[in-house]
Symmetry: C2
Subunit: 107 residues, 2 copies
């Protein structure tokens, strides 16, 4: 289990994405090959996100629990762990205590 | 007045810096020449920050007002505008309404 404390990129969008009154904040990144990712953080809260493209959430600090649409089971995920969310779907995520920092991979 | 919507970089620290219960969130960046900067956002609040190195705050979205230590005058600063804070000092910053996204330049 590797914790990716740093991510190579070529550009960052300087305007933050602020969701749910700041319970989730992220910045969009462009990688050398043109791939788009984001880095963000979720503060203690239970939030529902919708996906367009499929997403892989990769924890880098703290921990969360997530509930995929259609599932009845909350699953824990922490630093160095990943989980996948289908496209055109949604998921709930809850964080308590330390903020959950993540990398979001699209597609 | 140019608004820098994108910033070239080579790496981003994936763990967010969370200050004041999330009223300020930033991510550290490394540029190609080794320079360190950060991109962040301040939500509606009045906050006091201390500086080690001198800082230049560059707004990219929203607006703020700031009060440097030793000054009695709050000054407005918005997207495309910069202000300088001396090293080993402090400043107050207040945001109301839309979040204030910024680039922080050090040194």
């Amino acid at each position: 289990m590797t914790i990716n404390e740093s991510l190579a990129c070529t550009a960052v969008a300087t305007k933050a994405n602020v969701y749910f009154d700041g319970k989730c904040v992220s910045h969009n990144l462009t990688l050398a090959d043109g791939t788009k990712k984001s880095v963000g953080v979720i503060l203690p809260a239970t939030l529902t996100f919708s996906t367009g493209a499929p997403e892989i959430m990769e924890g880098v600090s703290g921990r969360c629990e997530y509930l995929l649409t259609g599932s009845s089971e909350w699953v824990a995920s922490g630093a160095g762990e990943k989980f996948s969310v289908p496209g055109n779907s949604s998921f709930q995520i809850r964080v308590s205590g330390e903020p959950y920092s993540y990398i979001c991979h699209f597609g």
